[in-house]
């Protein structure tokens, strides 16, 4: 599993150009760079992990096709182009799931790079489980009330007998604690 990369704007510009010139390794890099982001975006927008997994392939295929044909006018805007393509395909799917035109599947090697196992981040979820166990009961409650029940800090504060400011601070600290643990563990692998 890879950590989210922080590819510079220059590298992304270069990536777009290499794909236009037919560099196969650049296509794999593009898949690594964006497949997780497209998947997360798909899950949040469709609430359907299966659909999100399929979307990743469709979006990447559409993006790679466009890049191969030199359709990206401004190579500086590669991230925005991928995001825009993802948004359009997700919206199309939400509007008419069965009527969406079927795109060609990704070639085998690229499809491997965004396999279900990788996208689902099973390892990340496992680490989150461990991290949650390390948090105090009240911090877990704050996270649960925020991310599952959708309560606002003021409402959580009233229910737990805390101030809204304390709830905000503890929530931020808890998320960072979990994120730090994941980063440390993943950077060792």
């Amino acid at each position: 599993m890879s950590l989210p990369s922080a590819t510079s704007a220059g590298e992304l510009r270069n990536l777009a150009e290499r794909i236009r010139q037919g560099d196969a390794s650049a296509e794999t890099e593009l898949v690594h760079e964006f497949s997780h982001r497209i998947f997360v975006m798909g899950v949040v927008r469709t609430h359907d992990r299966e659909a999100a997994r399929e979307l990743v392939q469709d979006v990447l295929m559409a993006v790679i096709g466009a890049l191969r044909n030199g359709q990206l006018q401004d190579a500086d805007k590669l991230a925005a182009f991928v995001h825009g393509t993802a948004r359009n395909l997700i919206n199309n799917q939400l509007r008419a799931q069965s009527q969406a035109p079927a795109l060609d599947p990704l070639p085998e090697d690229l499809a491997q790079a965004c396999s279900a196992e990788q996208l689902e981040d099973a390892e990340r979820v496992g680490l989150v489980h461990q991290a949650l166990e390390r948090l105090g009961q009240q911090d877990r409650k704050i996270l649960w009330m925020t991310l599952v029940q959708g309560h606002k800090p003021g409402e959580i504060a009233a229910a737990l007998g805390l101030s809204a400011e304390v709830v905000r601070t503890r929530k931020t600290r808890a998320v960072k604690k979990v994120a730090d643990l994941i980063r440390k563990k993943l950077s060792r692998t």
């Binding site: 997780h36 982001r37 949040v44 990340r124 996270l143 991310l147 229910a159 979990v178």
Partner: protein, 265 residues
Amino acid sequence: MNCTEVEEREILERYLLDRLTEPEREEFEKHYFECGTCFAQVQTGLALQTELRRQPAMPVRARGASLLRTWVWAPAFAAIVILLTAGIWWYSARNRQPLQQVAAPPPKVSPNVPVKVQSPSTTPSLEELARVEPPPYSAVVLRGAEDESHEAFHKAMQYYVKEDYAHAIPGVRAAVEASPQTASFSFYLGACYLLTGQTDLAIISFRKTVSLGDSAYSESAHFYLAKAYLGNKDVARAQDELQRTVQFHGSLEAPAAEILRQLRN
């Protein structure tokens, strides 16, 4: 959008709960497509949400419980206040007596006149009155093939049953768009909005349910519309909707009347 804004405006939580406006969502996604730090937070947030949803519900003392406790202790508290006030009144009256004898004749006070004591306020706040229990829902399976809107609705309401109101919204909204004349769709869309704190949208949906005319959901729509107005601290409109609820003489008559009574206190 930048990383500081994401934290200050609680963008991540609102994104995961589907509570950003479309332009906000678009802006945030564009940001995390380029920002590794924020994308790591989104991934962690999503994994946390997934994991927490798998875990059993955590017992949280609801505000109703603390309110109940207030009510339980209210008589004892009132008694203490009465005793203290009576004691202070008696003590000060006794100390004032000589002065009063010089200054003016003592007023004729009937010993039967009760001492008016300001009792502690036990009237629930607007916020407490605006609290809602989710309207009950049980899937009604119609004979024969269901149309697409009903299918979408039933699928979405599976989230509702699991108290995941935020995730129920897109499906219920799609059902409303596909079948705008179905009162149950509009009603439960309103309920989902209300239960996720989106009172303005809840008001629109409940008003639409009401506008569809006499239906099994009219009474409930008026009642929850009142709750939404209470959430917006619009007491006048809330009272109006509660009175309409009472006029149905249905199952919500008693709770509506009780809230009206508390609002008048």
